[in-house]
Amino acid sequence: MASIKPLAWPRIAWLPLAALVFAALIAPWLAPQNPYDLVTLDLLDARLPPGSHAGTGTLTYLLGSDEQGRDMLSAILYGLRISLVVGLAGSGGGALLGVPLGLIAAQVGGRIDGLIMRIADLQLSFPALLLALVLLALLGPGLGKVVLALIAVQWAYFARSTRATALVELGKDYITAARGLGLNPLRISLRHILPNCLPPLLTLLPLQIAAAINLEATLSFLGLGAPVTEPSLGLLMANGFQYLLAGQYWISIYPGIALLGTIMGIHIATGRRGAEYT
């Protein structure tokens, strides 16, 4: 296919993402305020526009403050941590569940293969958001539940990708040789097939992490994800929505920019530009 010729991908493409991750890591030292410490919040400073000075103390609200008088920059840095951790845990968990299932399906074959892949097919025929919504409706809200829902949504992608690669590898001579040597199937699976399945999985993983961060934000925005005490970026945006209508845009828009930066940052860093969708 005469596809679009990609631009030479610059070496510095991972810098924006690295900067965001680093900022999230050192958030406690970087943030002007601890947004979870209610003592430091001053309700008199609620919903101040960006650049305002705190009524008491020396703090400047660079990105404004929210309805509890919380510094938005601090809230965003801490929210970014939550979004990243939940996204990583969800996709990582999905990979930890999906990759072994894909290996088993490819190697064992027969009914087990049929069963695993039919479940994956059935699940993939439903939009991820709908599945996650249903699971959270049954499990109840909370970040742990969101991670569970993300794992349940994402394992199928990893299982399918692993199985497809593993089936190709299984047909190759070195596997026949390994079997001829009498190596046990578990060893063949882990030492010989799995390493060869890794390259496609490593391109899938960042995209799934981006999708997981996106989904977590959406669920939190709908009020089904992060608890009010630990707001992720999505929940920060939801909290600011009612004030956005009154023109106080900063409570919603700045966390949104951080969210968008993270998702775009992952896409840019991996040099993938949505090609997997078409």
């Binding site: 296919m1 596809s3 939009p127 049954l138 925005f221 919603s252 998702i263 530009r273 949505g274």
Partner: protein
């Protein structure tokens, strides 16, 4: 051809049955169905009566058969909140959701198809820019682009209302917004929000298909015959792109309905997605179950429709030498 359709129909029914079973397991086997199905505010005597009436004192397989039987007759229980049948609550809200999703699809085609065709004939910076913009369209979460549109067009410029459905016109007992100017004013922002993802998808698909198609023998032959470039594009390249476009859009329509949940919540659009979020908030289980079964039925129907369209558009499928 008939075999192909029957097989697809069989697959659809299997998906529906699987969903019914999953919902049954979730409601009856994992949790305590009494907690889920009987109003928590009911007293002990009411509970006992409800347990018997719901057949919860029977064995699980027997309960599943009874549940399927009720579902087939359209009885999915009463909403705890409204006290009316859950299914009719969903069906009342269905037209608003379909209207929103349908308009979104229409907007996506209207914007994505010409943009993709145009970008496909270009090389260099223009295509790179459109390529980059479509990546942005993918990456933006639905609620985020909706917020942005509300901020720009409703709050800052004040041109359009930030939410609600506006004036509706009743046609065959269904209220729709698309027949009144005020309805359109309310519809355009949520529909554009919902359309963004599909537009980006369409632009990429069509750009690539066009660029690819233009290098093919048939396109070069048409050009050599002296056809103007526009005619080569619309008469020869476009029909070949339409098959993947319809497949992808058909498959994405399910996602569009799922993401309507977000758009409806954001814009206060009174569709079934907003009803679902409200139902989750109030733990109104019968409504959640009804939403799931209705949505699944909708997906299965849409997929069948896509298969049918596919047959009409692609003679290879119609003439029956397909692999199904």
């Amino acid at each position: 051809m008939t075999t192909f359709l029957l097989r697809r129909l069989g697959h659809g029914l299997f998906v529906l049955l699987a969903m019914a079973l999953l919902v049954f397991i979730a409601v009856y086997a994992i949790g305590n169905p009494v907690d889920l199905l009987v109003d928590p505010q009911a007293d002990a005597a009411d509970r006992a009566r409800a347990i018997h009436a719901l057949g919860l004192d029977q064995s699980l397989p027997r309960q599943f058969v009874a549940y399927l039987g009720h579902a087939l007759r359209g009885d999915l229980g009463n909403s705890f909140v409204y006290g009316t049948p859950a299914l009719s609550l969903i069906m009342e809200r269905l037209p608003a959701t379909l209207e929103l999703a349908g308009t979104a699809l229409f907007v996506a085609i209207l914007a994505g198809l010409p943009l993709g065709l145009w970008a496909g004939t270009r090389q260099g910076p223009i295509r790179q820019i459109i390529d980059g913009l479509s990546l942005l369209g993918f990456s933006l979460p639905t609620f985020w682009s909706g917020l942005l549109l509300i901020l720009i067009f409703a709050v800052t410029l004040g041109w359009l209302p930030p939410g609600g459905r506006g004036e509706t016109h009743v046609l065959y007992g269904i209220s729709l917004s698309i027949f009144t100017p005020d309805g359109w004013r309310h519809l355009i922002l949520p529909a554009s929000t919902l359309a963004l993802f599909n537009t980006a998808l369409l632009v990429r698909l069509v750009t690539r298909g066009t660029a690819d198609g233009l290098t093919q023998e048939y396109a070069r032959y048409a050009k050599a015959r002296g056809l103007p470039p526009g005619q080569v594009l619309t008469g020869h390249v476009l029909p070949n792109i339409l098959i993947p476009v319809i497949t992808v859009l058909g498959l994405e329509f399910g996602s569009t309905i799922a993401f309507a949940v977000v758009t409806e919540t954001l814009f206060g659009w009174p569709g079934m997605g907003k009803l679902l979020i409200d139902a989750i908030g109030t733990l109104d289980r019968p409504v959640i179950v009804a939403y799931l079964l209705v949505t699944t039925t909708l997906f299965v129907t849409i997929n069948l429709g896509v298969d049918l369209l596919y047959m009409i558009l692609d003679p290879r499928v119609r003439l029956g030498n397909s692999h199904g």
